[in-house]
């Protein structure tokens, strides 16, 4: 069958320090499932909604006022490209969730434009995830998810929701945009969890 095939960027050279099935790329491919949202920072907000419906909201200015971190991480896309040693700046989810009262086990990241992706709440904590607004020292462009995106580099990149608008916390694991179309609910690149059942 000649049908949708991930990996449309062709194959680069394999590298020993890549997860299984991945190929190294030096550029930064832009993947998108729809029009690129242009979200003015003046109207941008980030909202955490708990399982009880309580909301915690930050404006752009409030986000920038929080302590930020600069991290250098590897990116692994489910379409099989990997990009190593990318440098980002953003606010750790540990900071944003520190005062949020919740007993939830799961989270759904929601984006401007309607995209969603699910992951365990634990994967957003302990220095594993950021709301990133800078890439390689520059403001994050809209094509790569700016003004701010979720960055969860230990999972396949579709979990790092571009144009993130909030995190919804839940007792239940609710599959997101790609997770409802055959992709893995967790997405660990080192265990090659690309598809349901992997």
């Amino acid at each position: 069958m000649s049908i949708v095939t991930p990996g449309f960027h062709g194959r680069g050279r394999p590298a020993a320090d890549l997860p299984p099935g991945q190929y190294l790329t030096e550029d930064f491919p832009v993947l998108s499932a729809g029009p690129t949202p242009r979200v003015p920072t003046g109207s941008w907000t980030f909202t955490v909604t708990t399982e009880t419906g309580r909301e915690y909201r930050w404006t752009w200015a409030e986000l920038l006022a929080l302590p930020a971190e600069t991290v250098t991480v590897d990116l692994h896309c489910v379409t099989k490209w990997s990009k190593l040693r990318t440098t980002w700046r953003g606010v750790p989810l540990d900071t944003l969730l520190a005062d949020v009262e919740t007993a939830a086990d799961f989270a759904v990241a929601e984006s401007y434009g309607g995209y969603t992706t699910n992951l365990p709440l634990a994967d957003l904590l302990d220095g594993q995830a950021w709301i990133a607004y800078s890439y390689e020292g520059e403001d994050l462009t809209a094509e790569h998810g700016g003004p701010a995106r979720l960055l969860v580099p230990h999972l396949y990149l579709w979990k790092s929701a571009k144009w993130v608008s909030g995190i919804r916390l839940s007792h239940d694991d609710e599959p997101g945009f790609w997770e409802t179309l055959g992709y893995h609910e967790y997405g660990d690149p080192w265990r090659e969890q690309r598809y349901q059942g992997d």
Binding site: V4, P6, G34, P35, W158, L181, R194
Partner: protein, 88 residues
């Protein structure tokens, strides 16, 4: 908004693996805005883990299609109705 889509003819090959008729001339109704038009007129985003076809009127997702090694996943929940012309 930046547009990086192709037209709905990009769905012809993948859908031909699933359906016996050519669906590119089929008329679909958008669940988001009610607009009707041919499948070939949809905006298809293909630089993604799957194909995502959106309404040219309201940009709502009307068709999603992805292939895994063992299954083809087709989501039509954004399409209210689909009309296919019969051979004369």
């Amino acid at each position: 908004m930046t547009h990086t889509y192709v037209d709905g003819n990009a769905l012809a090959g993948p859908l031909a693996d699933l359906f016996a008729v050519d669906l590119t001339t089929a008329v679909l109704r958008c669940a988001g805005c009610g607009r009707t038009g041919p499948l070939a007129g949809l905006h298809v985003y293909q630089k993604a883990p799957g194909l995502v076809a959106r309404c040219p009127g309201c940009q709502a997702v009307m068709v999603r299609l992805a292939r895994t090694p063992t299954r083809v996943h087709l989501d039509l929940h954004g399409t209210l109705a689909l009309a296919v012309s019969l051979p004369s």
